[in-house]
C-alpha cells in the first residue's frame, strides 16, 4: 500500500491489500479505516453506535468485530466527551478517529474542537501533536429531519489550527481518510452523506493525490467551476450539459477546504476570466466566499465577470419538503454559468 504521498508509519501488522473492485463512497471510507487500523495499533475509532451497529451509515461496519472493543469504542452519548477524550488519547500517542453521527450534532463538541483541538499544538510550542480525525457525514438531499442535513464546514475552516477536507468520490474517500489519519494535525473530515452509495472503480495500484491539493476534473475555456463534497457531481453534470450547448466548463474539486489549494484555480480563472462556485452551505462567510475573495485578489485583471456563488440560502436548512428549493442543483448552476457569460 506504500503510496508515495502517504506518511504512513512502519508497522508490525500485515499489510492490507485491497483488490481492484467497484466500491461505494461508504465502502471506501470503511476500507480506508480498516487499512489504517491494520497499519497502526494506535489508530482508534470512537463514537456513538460505531461498534456492533457499525454506525448509522455502516461506515465502521465490521471494525469492532475485527479490532475489538478497545479500538472501536461505542462511547457514551456525548460529543464533547468524544472529542475531549480524543484530545487526551492523542496526547498519549493514539490517533483517534471520532465519528460524529450527523453534521448537526457536532456542536456539543464545538468547544473542545475550537478551544483545545485547534490550539494545544500552538500553545505547547509544538510539543503536543493532536492527530485526531473528526468524521462528519454532512449535507442535505436525503429527506431528513432537522439537524441531519447541514453543512457546517466553514465554522471549522474559520478556526486556525484545524484542517478541513471533504471527499467527493469513493476512491478519494479511501485514500483521503488514511491521509487524514496520518496527518499530525487535527482534521475535520466531511463526508457527503448523500453520495455514500455512489460507486466507482477502485484500483489500489493508482497512487492518490496529496491530501492538501485540489484537483482539476474537466478542461474548458469558458467558465471555471469550483465545488467540493456533494456538489462535485453537480459540477460534472453541469460540464456535460454545458458541453451540449457548446460551452466549456473547467471543473475543480477543492478536496481541501482549509488550507485551500487555489493555485490551479487561479491559473484556470486567468484563462476563462469567469468563476462560479457551488456549495450547499449558506454563502454568508462561507468557503465559497473565501474562494471568491481570493480569486478576485489574485485574478483581478483577468476577471470578465464577478465571481458568482451557487449556495444554500442564508437561512436555516429548511424542512425536507423544501430542500429541493434550497439546495444547489444543475439548473441553478447552469443559470449562474449563463449569467457569468452574460457579463
Amino acid at each position: 500500500m506504500a503510496a508515495p504521498t502517504m506518511n504512513r508509519p512502519d508497522s508490525d501488522m500485515p499489510d492490507f491489500e485491497p483488490k481492484v473492485q467497484t466500491i461505494t463512497l461508504a465502502k471506501g471510507i470503511n476500507m480506508g479505516l480498516r487499512a489504517a487500523m491494520e497499519a497502526d495499533k494506535k489508530v482508534l475509532v470512537m463514537g456513538e453506535d460505531v461498534g456492533k451497529l457499525g454506525g448509522v451509515f455502516r461506515i465502521t461496519d465490521g471494525l469492532q468485530k475485527d479490532f475489538g472493543e478497545e479500538r472501536v469504542l461505542d462511547t457514551p452519548l456525548a460529543e464533547s466527551g468524544i472529542i475531549g477524550t480524543a484530545v487526551g488519547l492523542a496526547m498519549r500517542g493514539f490517533r483517534p478517529v471520532c465519528e460524529i453521527q450527523f453534521d448537526g450534532f457536532i456542536f456539543p463538541g464545538f468547544d473542545q474542537i475550537v478551544s483545545q483541538v485547534a490550539k494545544l499544538h500552538n500553545r505547547s510550542k509544538g510539543s503536543i501533536k493532536l492527530p485526531i480525525v473528526i468524521r462528519v457525514p454532512y449535507g442535505g438531499g436525503i429527506g431528513a429531519v432537522e439537524h441531519h442535513s447541514e453543512s457546517p464546514e466553514a465554522y471549522f475552516a474559520h478556526t486556525a489550527g484545524l484542517k478541513v477536507v471533504s471527499c467527493s468520490n469513493p476512491v478519494d474517500a479511501y485514500w483521503m481518510i488514511q491521509q487524514a489519519i496520518w496527518s499530525d494535525d487535527p482534521v475535520l473530515f466531511f463526508e457527503p452523506k448523500r453520495r455514500y452509495y455512489e460507486k466507482a472503480q477502485f484500483d489500489p495500484a493508482v497512487s492518490p493525490d496529496p491530501l492538501w491539493s485540489s484537483r482539476q476534473l474537466t478542461s474548458g475555456k469558458d467558465v471555471t467551476v469550483v465545488g467540493y463534497g456533494p456538489t462535485v457531481r453537480i459540477a460534472l453534470d453541469g460540464a456535460a450539459a454545458a458541453a451540449e450547448e457548446g460551452k466549456e466548463l473547467e471543473v475543480f474539486d477543492l478536496r481541501t477546504l482549509s488550507p485551500l489549494d487555489l493555485g490551479p484555480v487561479y491559473e484556470s480563472v486567468r484563462k476563462t476570466g469567469r468563476l462560479v462556485t457551488i456549495s450547499e452551505a449558506p454563502s454568508n462567510c462561507s468557503i465559497s466566499s473565501e474562494v471568491a475573495a481570493r480569486v478576485q485578489r489574485e485574478c483581478f485583471y483577468s476577471l470578465q465577470a464577478p465571481v458568482l456563488q451557487v449556495n444554500g440560502f442564508d437561512t436555516p436548512y429548511p424542512m425536507s419538503k423544501a430542500e429541493e428549493e434550497y439546495l444547489p442543483d444543475l439548473d441553478k448552476l447552469l443559470h449562474a454559468v449563463d449569467r457569468s457569460l452574460g457579463y
Binding site: 506518511n7 508509519p9 456513538e48 457499525g54 457514551p76 448537526g104 429527506g143 496520518w182 424542512m319 423544501a322
Partner: protein, 410 residues
C-alpha cells in the same frame, strides 16, 4: 511520527491489594456483569421500583406513592394509551408507504408518557425530546401536527406557547437546560407556591441523554436555583444500539442524590405508578421543593426509528420478555377482572381508534407542501433586508422557468 512500539514480552508481576494500599476501592469496583445486574435490579419489582399495577394487572400498594383513581379515570388512561399506540402504529406504516421521511416509534412507552402527560396541569410547561407522542397527545396536540415534522412539511408542527409544550428537540439533551431555564422563570415570576395556579416544568429525555453535558448542567442549575422542574428520564434500555450500561454504572435515579435532589425509579410500564409519582413530583416542584428526577423504567419495543435495524445489536429474547410487561395489556386485564369496563367499552374504543387512524392517514396526505415563504420567513424576529433580497432573487429565478423556454430547458 515514530513507528508504533511492539508490546513488551514480559510477565506482569502479581500485585496484591496490600501493595497498592487501596483494598476497598479495588474490591468494590463492580464487574461489567455486576453493573448490568445492578442497573436491572428492580426490573422485576422490589422496594426501589414504584409499582401500583403489576404486569399481571394486579393492583398493589406502595407506602409512599399511591393514587385514588375512579373507574372512569382509569378507563380514560387506557383509552389514551390505546389511541396513542394506534396512532404510532399508523405513523409507522405511513413511513413504510413513503408518506413520512422518518418515524420515531413510542411503542412500549405509552404508560410512561400518558402517566407523565396526565400528571401535568394546564398551566405547566413540557419540554419533549422527539419520541414524546403520548405526552403531546395529553397536551392536546393533534397527531398530524407531529407527523408534519416527520413528513418534512414543517420544522415544528404546533404553537409551543399556546400548547405549553415545546416543539420536539432532536439534539440530545438540549431541552433539559431549556426546561430548567423556563422553570427558573416560573419561580422568578412568583408562580411557585401553595396556590392552585402554581406552575411547574417537566423535561423529557432518554437514558442515552443522561451522558450529555447539557443534562448534567440542567441538574446543577435546577438545584442551585431550586427550579420547579421535573427531570423525566425514560430509560427504555437503549440509545440506538447502545445499552444503558454504556452510559452509567449506577441506576439513573441514583444520580439525583449527587446533585442534591430526590430521584425515584418508577415502573414506566405502569401508568398508575407513573401518574402517581409524576403528580407528586410536579406538586413538589410547584410548591417550592424542586427539582425531582424520575427514572421511568421501560423498554423500546420497536426499532430506534424506521431507519434502524435492531436485529444487528439486540436479541429478540429481551423483547419477548418485555412483551409480558406490556403497559396496555395489564390495564386491560385489570379493567376486565375488576369489572370496570365492559365489552362495549372496548369495542367502541377500537372503533374510535380506527376512525382516528383513517382521519390521520388522510390528514397526512393533505398536508400542504411548504413554499419558499417557509424557507425565508421568520428567520429573524426583526426581519432581514438581506434575506428579503435573496428571496426576491430566488422568486425571479423560479419565475424565469415559467416564461423563458431557456430557463426550463436545463
Amino acid at each position: 511520527m515514530p513507528p508504533p512500539k511492539k508490546k513488551a514480552q514480559r510477565a506482569t508481576p502479581q500485585v496484591t491489594k496490600a501493595d497498592v494500599g487501596a483494598p476497598d476501592a479495588v474490591s468494590q469496583r463492580p464487574s461489567p456483569e455486576q453493573v448490568i445486574a445492578g442497573l436491572r435490579a428492580t426490573s422485576e419489582g422490589g422496594p426501589d421500583l414504584v409499582q401500583l399495577l403489576t404486569p399481571e394487572g394486579e393492583r398493589v400498594h406502595h407506602p409512599d406513592f399511591d393514587i385514588d383513581i375512579s373507574p372512569e379515570e382509569l378507563r380514560g388512561l387506557y383509552r389514551d394509551m390505546v389511541l396513542v399506540r394506534r396512532a404510532d402504529r399508523e405513523a409507522n406504516s405511513l413511513q413504510r408507504q413513503g408518506q413520512l421521511g422518518l418515524w420515531v416509534p413510542l411503542l412500549g412507552q405509552e404508560a410512561a408518557q400518558i402517566g407523565a402527560g396526565r400528571a401535568m396541569r394546564p398551566q405547566d410547561y413540557g419540554f419533549p425530546g422527539y419520541r414524546e407522542h403520548g405526552v403531546a397527545w395529553c397536551r392536546g396536540i393533534d397527531p398530524v401536527q407531529i407527523l408534519s415534522m416527520y413528513r418534512g412539511t414543517d420544522h415544528g408542527g404546533w404553537d409551543p406557547q399556546q400548547q405549553r409544550f415545546n416543539m420536539y428537540t432532536i439534539v440530545i439533551g438540549n431541552q433539559v437546560l431549556n426546561a430548567t431555564g423556563y422553570a427558573m422563570g416560573q419561580k422568578f415570576d412568583g408562580k411557585v407556591g401553595p396556590e392552585e395556579d402554581a406552575e411547574a416544568t417537566i423535561a423529557f429525555f432518554g437514558d442515552g441523554a443522561t451522558s450529555q453535558g447539557d443534562v448534567h448542567e440542567g441538574f446543577v442549575w435546577a438545584t442551585v436555583y431550586n427550579a420547579p422542574v421535573v427531570f423525566f428520564c425514560q430509560n427504555n434500555q437503549w440509545a440506538i444500539s447502545e445499552p444503558v450500561e454504556r452510559q452509567t454504572r449506577v441506576p439513573i435515579y441514583h444520580r439525583a442524590r449527587g446533585y442534591g435532589f430526590p430521584g425515584i425509579r418508577v415502573d414506566g410500564n405502569d401508568v398508575l405508578a407513573t401518574l402517581a409519582v409524576t403528580k407528586w413530583a410536579m406538586d413538589e416542584c410547584r410548591t417550592g421543593n424542586g427539582p425531582v428526577l424520575i427514572e421511568a423504567f421501560t423498554y423500546r419495543m420497536d426499532a430506534h426509528t424506521t431507519s434502524d435495524d435492531p436485529t444487528r445489536y439486540r436479541l429478540s429474547d429481551e423483547l419477548e420478555a418485555w412483551k409480558l410487561k406490556d403497559p396496555i395489556e395489564r390495564v386491560r386485564v385489570h379493567l376486565v377482572r375488576e369489572g370496570l369496563a365492559d365489552q362495549k367499552f372496548f369495542d367502541e374504543l377500537e372503533a374510535e381508534a380506527d376512525d382516528r387512524a383513517a382521519t390521520l392517514r388522510q390528514a397526512v396526505r393533505d398536508l400542504p407542501n411548504p413554499g419558499i415563504d417557509n424557507i425565508f420567513d421568520n428567520v429573524y424576529a426583526e426581519g432581514s433586508p438581506h434575506l428579503d433580497a435573496q428571496k426576491a432573487e430566488f422568486q425571479a429565478y423560479l419565475d424565469g422557468f415559467a416564461d423563458s423556454a431557456h430557463g426550463g430547458g436545463h
